[in-house]
């Protein structure tokens, strides 16, 4: 059921939420086709970076994360991180705190690094 397209949507929704996990080292970026952006976990993404969420891991908070706006394809900015603690991201005016363990399970594509 989950593989059926909804109506005339061309996107396979199930595929969107459970993509084949790409080789998650920087050299695996070629496998994503044209994209050459580095990948990292949300826990490791640098503060100030703008990232796109790619993969949500296996936790029980997946659905809630999607609902809040942290699903695959969403773009957020990392604006703070506590050492070994929660990561704070922003999506427009919305600010969300993501616990350390969950942030370690979310893989993101770094679109724009902070100017250091």
């Amino acid at each position: 059921m989950s593989r059926q397209a909804l109506g005339t949507a061309e996107i396979d929704l199930h595929e969107e939420t459970h993509p084949a996990v790409p080789a998650l080292q920087p050299e695996g970026a070629e496998e994503l086709g044209a994209r050459a952006n580095p990948l990292a976990t949300l826990a490791a993404a640098p503060v100030g970076a703008r990232v796109r969420i790619r993969y949500l891991g296996d936790g029980d908070m997946r659905a809630q994360a999607i609902r809040l706006g942290l699903g695959p394809g969403s773009e957020v900015t990392v604006w703070a991180r506590l050492p070994r603690g929660p990561v704070l991201v922003s999506r427009g005016p919305q600010h969300i705190a993501v616990g350390h363990r969950l942030a370690g399970q979310i893989w993101v594509e770094i679109l724009r690094s902070p100017v250091s």
């Binding site: 909804l6 109506g7 949507a9 704070l88 999506r91």
Partner: protein, 658 residues
């Protein structure tokens, strides 16, 4: 005590097929097939209006506007979720808990789900400054087909950011009336009330509708009324709602993530169409609050301020006046002479009655004095401070600061809320553990609250006895309690199977608290405290009083004496203080103060009473939340641990501090 409010709802049930339900399932409400009983109000409402929206969108202000002063807060039947209900003209208005969406995943969402399925009209309160986030719930409500109206609140904030949504665009897309408001200023509220009669079901997602038609074998008439519930349940079924599956007699199915991801994208698209303008990033203040060093500094300053306010102003001046001058000065003597006048003196029986009513543990003397003179001012002041921290948006930042520290205990940052509340009143803090995601976390938090968190009454005794002894003793006390807290937490984390849930928290914007809302919150919480915890103190005092007049109390004290003197090194009279601690969390201050303890004994006594079992109200609350067997186990464990640690401190402390 919790369920007595259930019968006064008087709802006209949302019509729908009466569905069988599995026994033992945790229900989110009862079912009415037909007209409601008139209940305690003596009237049957014309319509049921449900206020639904994300947390912090101003639902309570709108609730106030619609219902005026006739407010009733009670627990939704079968849950510990608090819901307000009030009368607005001929209608019954219900305020649901803030949720980001409707599902069967936790109590808050189940309660909201139930309210939405039954309501005649839903007022969806949306934060105009966070449109994209809030529209998820709005679109879900549109899918469910309930007649609705969107209240686009907090327009002032949205305008301030240069990102005010266009209500006209939203109306067009959603197909329901959209009213812009600034509820705190009263703007737009009259329009909102006027538009309620035009409430209509929103436009469902065409793709979901098509999927529904294909996949769910339920007739879906386009007409409202009986078919509405079936249709709403069918949509919920598509999202993997197991309760809906059961009610529709279908095998569990649906794809929650796919549907939610799709709806999330639609919400973003609609928001993009309705709002022209960028959002803002994090403010400087926010960065300050969440960076560990500065954040903790700010927290310490705030805590110091709170401690001064509570300790010096309230516990000092106010309590001295209320408890000392008013209660002990006027009330107790008056009650005693009344009791002596009314109750005859002759036989031992009547003497016992006098004791019960006006003696040491007197129901009319000590208990009333304790509640009105000591607890009430402390609890009110505490709730005022908590309200400030919550309404300003600061609490979630504290949760962020402590998330890492709490994870070895099997908890996440959310647990700071019950723990902080515990310093005011442990009983109410136990109720507040429902903000935690899993029952495992709730259990751990409740045990830790019972073990190591001193309530405000207790803190008064502790600081009163320890401060004269110097900061070193205070440091040892603090270290011991924190150590016990941490070790117990880690042990519990290892003991209970499963994992704690990760922190995933929406941070509301920092804003100035509104005095009116603060007052309302504090008043309602104080009233709830009196109503829920108050009677429990009377039961406890009655129990102690009976023990005393039958002489059993002395026997208990004799039993405890060897432990108290031999192991703890305290005078035998301390046993009385411990027993009194079941009711009087300030440990019959007179009792402890007048024992003439030397510094080491004081330290031991204070550590022991902190770790000792909580007051009778808390014990009963634990029983309600976790069941009586577990409560008894926790109670016993508490006693053993308190005495064990006390004895260890008695032996080790002289080596460390002197």
């Amino acid at each position: 005590m919790r369920h007595r409010h259930g019968h006064r709802w008087g709802w006209r049930g949302g019509a729908g097929p009466a569905a069988g339900r599995a026994r033992g399932e945790r229900t989110a409400g009862r079912r009415h097939g037909g007209p409601a009983p008139a209940g305690g109000h003596g009237w049957a409402p014309r319509r049921l209006i449900a206020l639904v929206g994300n947390p912090n969108t101003g639902k309570s202000v709108i609730f106030h506007y619609l219902t005026g002063r006739y407010v009733e807060v009670s627990n939704y039947p079968g849950t510990t979720v608090e819901v307000s209900a009030g009368r607005s003209g001929d209608d019954l208005v219900v305020d649901t808990p803030g949720v980001y969406g409707i599902s069967a995943l936790n109590d808050e969402e189940r309660v909201t789900r139930d309210a939405v399925l039954r309501a005649d009209v839903v007022v969806n309160v949306v934060d105009a400054a966070h449109l994209s986030r809030d529209l998820f719930l709005t679109l879900q409500l549109c899918d469910l087909g309930v007649p609705m109206v969107v209240c686009l609140n907090m327009m002032d904030e949205a305008r301030g950011r240069g990102a005010a949504p266009d209500p006209g665009v939203l109306e067009q897309v959603l197909g329901v009336p959209v009213v812009p408001t600034v509820a705190t200023r009263g703007e737009g509220l009259r329009d909102l009330r006027a538009v309620l009669s035009r409430a209509t079901p929103g436009r469902p997602d065409p793709e979901l509708a098509a999927r529904l038609a294909r996949e769910v074998p339920v007739p879906v008439p386009g007409v409202e009324g009986d078919g509405r519930r079936a249709r709403a349940l069918a949509y919920l079924y598509l999202e993997g709602d197991d309760l809906a599956a059961r009610e529709l007699a279908l095998p569990p199915g649906g794809d929650r993530e796919a549907v939610w991801a799709h709806r999330r994208r639609r919400a973003d698209q609609v928001a993009a169409r309705a709002v022209a303008g960028p959002g803002s990033g994090a403010s400087g203040l926010d960065r300050l609050l969440t960076r560990p060093l500065t954040g903790l500094l700010v927290l310490l300053v705030i805590l110091a301020g709170a401690y001064w306010f509570l300790g010096t102003v309230v516990a000092g001046a106010v309590v001295d006046f209320l408890e000392g001058t008013v209660m002990r000065g006027y009330w107790e003597p008056a009650v005693r002479s009344l009791v002596e006048g009314v109750v005859p003196g002759g036989s031992p029986f009547w003497h016992a009655v006098r004791q019960l009513l006006a003696g040491e543990f007197g129901l009319l003397t000590m208990t009333v004095t304790y509640i009105v003179g000591l607890l009430l001012p402390l609890v009110v002041a505490f709730y005022l401070i908590m309200g400030l921290l919550e309404d300003s948006g600061y609490m979630p930042r504290v949760a962020v600061l402590f998330d890492r520290a709490l994870s070895p205990l099997g908890l996440n940052g959310r647990a700071v809320i019950p723990f902080m509340l515990g310093f005011g009143c442990v009983t109410m803090a136990i109720v507040s553990t429902r903000v935690l995601n899993t029952s495992r976390e709730r259990r751990i938090a409740i045990i830790l609250l019972s073990l190591a968190i001193p309530c405000s009454a207790q803190l008064g005794v502790v600081t009163g006895m320890i401060s004269p002894l110097g900061w070193r003793v205070l440091a040892v006390y603090g270290a011991v309690v924190v150590l016990v807290f941490a070790l117990a937490g880690m042990a519990l984390d290892r003991l209970f199977p499963g994992k704690s849930s990760a922190l995933l928290m929406d941070l509301p914007p920092l804003r100035l608290p509104r005095p009116g809302n603060l007052l309302y919150k504090t008043t309602y919480r104080a009233v709830t405290f009196l109503r829920e915890a108050g009677p429990l103190f009377f039961y406890g005092a009655a129990g102690l009083g009976i023990l005393q007049v039958t002489g059993a109390l002395e026997r208990v004290q004799d039993l405890l004496a060897p432990v108290v003197s031999g192991w703890l090194g305290l005078p035998p009279g301390a046993a009385t203080a411990f027993v009194m601690g079941f009711v009087r969390r300030d440990f019959g201050a007179a009792g402890l103060y007048h024992l003439g303890l030397d510094p080491l004994q004081t330290l031991v006594a204070v550590v022991t009473i902190t770790l000792f079992v909580p007051c009778v109200a808390s014990v009963m609350m634990i029983g309600k939340e976790l069941g009586w067997k577990e409560a008894a186990l926790i109670w016993a464990g508490n006693i053993v641990l308190a005495f064990a640690v006390g004895g260890v401190v008695a032996r080790i402390a002289p080596l460390v501090v002197r």
